[in-house]
């Protein structure tokens, strides 16, 4: 695929590089792995396949071969060959087609999966782009105009073969786009003006004063413009920690909410630093992090208090729903 316009921040992402946090290597990977898994399943890919993660403003891509694609996650005004591209569905695009992903109308991040995956080399077991240290993905950076995004060598054959399977043998037309009647759900899309995510009290929760502890769970927080894949800075009331004793740096986690000296919390996202010395007021339930990741700067979030048991139960419920969807999608491809 040739990149005509790169969009605001388009990177290659998969499920991340695991098992290297003792060397300071964060897993990283898709900000919304649920949407990534669905996109891959819609084109018959393995779960580990890499896709393009686009942010708020999507790229414009020209296809240099036939490709079976699916766009999942945030709603984008995507068009292919000038016609609206249906989201959450496998779509067969022909060689030469121009896919303009447009702007996000709901949510902020979408995943474009292509049958066969994005074929950049693996770095430390993953194709994910890690921008802070410039490795992984396409030369360790976001897409730029003029880039060629490598697809699997057999992407065109796979596209036609897989399309034939899901369309019950109905041959695709030689031009334009062909799709099916069924869609996948989009469980991580923000359902209103304000997203509610569950969070547990963090290790240093008790060190904050009573008003701050209350405010954290009662106030509505706004995602600041200087938020990125490393962390979401949250604007709201200043949180006070009366005895500001130094904390030796300690490991952090996806979804950790830490509060630096200025009193404004930061929710750690996919590319977060593996250790930190700021007090942790909360830990966001893993099941809810993908929904938080769908907020754009200016978006609002409220934290609902939960226990570790609740968080585990939320994760179990999400996994069950997701697995049943993934199974039915795999069934369409006869696998």
């Amino acid at each position: 695929m040739k990149v005509a316009k790169p969009g605001l921040l388009t990177t290659v992402q998969d499920l991340g590089r695991l098992g290297l946090q003792h060397l300071g290597v964060v897993p990283g990977g898709a900000m919304d792995p649920v949407a990534l898994l669905l996109a891959n399943a819609l084109v018959g890919n393995e779960r580990e396949a890499a896709a393009l993660e686009m942010t708020v403003l999507g790229p414009e891509l020209q296809l240099e071969s036939d490709a079976l694609v699916a766009l999942c996650g945030a709603e984008f005004e995507a068009r292919a060959g000038g016609k609206p591209l249906p989201m959450n569905r496998p779509v067969l695009l022909r060689k030469g087609a121009v896919l303009a992903c447009g702007r996000a109308t709901r949510g902020s991040r979408a995943y474009l999966a292509v049958a066969g995956g994005i074929a950049v080399p693996e770095v430390l077991g993953s194709r994910s782009t890690f921008l802070p240290a410039r490795y992984g993905g396409l030369a360790g950076r976001a897409l730029q105009a003029g880039d060629s995004v490598p697809l699997a060598g057999d992407a065109a054959t796979l596209a036609l073969k897989r399309y034939l399977k899901i369309s019950d043998g109905k041959k695709a037309g030689p031009m334009g786009m062909s799709t099916v009647r069924w869609t996948a759900p989009s469980p991580t899309l923000p359902d209103g003006d304000r997203v509610v995510v569950h969070a547990m009290e963090g290790r240093h929760h008790e060190q904050f004063d009573a008003a701050s502890r209350r405010a954290f769970f009662e106030e509505t927080w706004k995602v600041s413009p200087d938020s990125n894949r490393m962390g979401f800075r949250l604007a709201g009331p200043v949180l006070a920690r009366p005895e500001a004793v130094d904390i030796p740096s300690e490991p952090t986690c996806l979804g950790t909410v830490q509060v630096p000296a200025n009193g404004l919390p930061i929710a750690l996202m996919a590319d977060h630093q593996t250790t930190g010395g700021y007090p942790k007021i909360a830990e966001i339930a893993g099941a809810d992090v993908p929904r938080l990741a769908q907020l754009a700067p200016g978006g609002s979030v409220q934290f609902a208090r939960c226990t570790m048991e609740d968080a585990i139960e939320l994760r179990r419920a999400l996994r069950q729903r997701l697995e049943s969807t993934l199974r039915s999608l795999a069934w369409e491809f006869g696998t």
Binding site: L18, G19, L20, Q21, H22, L23, G24, V25, V123, L124, F130, P132, A133, Y135, G136, R203, P248, S249, E250, P251, C253, Q273, T274, T275, G276, G286, M308, I312, R315, R319
Partner: protein, 217 residues
């Protein structure tokens, strides 16, 4: 999950928890993704979707820790010795002069005291390959700079409190910069990718500017 063993950085505690982490890692349990020896504790990241995930994770972690304690003796002091070339010239050691005034030491004395004894990697984290190194000569210990620098170049060797940090990437930083290593601390295509691993022993080897240039990739 994080098990904290002290609230202050202490070499003996850290050595014990390095051994504990090694014992945990040796179990290679399928539902555990990461075992991270940290400054004052051991963290474990688990795979929340793993089919073999125990019913009560906290209880399972407790049992694991107790078992690992019994095995830890085997893993004591297994760290390698890393000899890190450092150029302490004023060009790189931008805080040496100020530090000398505060500590009433000559720059030569600071370099000598930083490079004469063996240090130890207490934790690797923050950025890929970035070590937190303990064992700083007590006469060099002082708090961080009042105003952090907005950019500290990659390879900078800096001290604060009782530790040495080596910046693996350019980042903001508030430690006193005393030199720079020509080595790239983290290269994903190298095996192992990181110069430092937790528990490694470290010696800082002073090198000239010419030697620095020769070693710089």
């Amino acid at each position: 999950m994080y098990a904290e063993f002290s609230q202050e950085i202490d070499l003996e505690t850290n050595a014990a928890l390095q051994a504990l982490a090694a014992a945990l890692r040796a179990r290679s349990l399928p539902w555990i993704r990461d075992v991270i020896p940290a400054l004052c504790g051991v963290a474990v990241h688990f795979d929340p979707d793993h089919p073999q995930l125990p019913e009560s994770i906290l209880e399972a972690f407790q049992v694991l820790l107790e078992e690992a304690f019994k095995q830890a003796g085997k893993y004591e002091r297994t760290g390698r010795l890393v000899e890190l070339p450092v150029c302490y010239d004023a060009e790189f050691g931008v805080d040496l002069a100020d530090l000398g005034k505060t500590l009433s030491l000559s720059e030569k004395q600071i370099v000598e005291r930083h490079s004469r004894n063996e240090h130890v990697v207490l934790m690797v984290g923050f950025s890929p390959g970035q070590p937190y190194i303990g064992g700083l000569d007590e006469s060099l210990a002082l708090p961080r700079r009042a105003t952090p620098r907005t950019r500290v170049p990659a390879g900078s060797v800096a001290i604060a409190n009782t530790q040495t940090a080596v910046y693996s990437y350019e980042t903001p930083g508030g430690w006193h910069v005393i030199g720079r290593t020509p080595l790239a601390l983290f290269k994903p295509e190298r095996n192992p990718p990181s110069v430092f691993a937790p528990g490694d022993r470290v010696r800082f080897v002073p090198v000239s500017r010419a030697e620095f240039d020769r070693l710089k990739p």
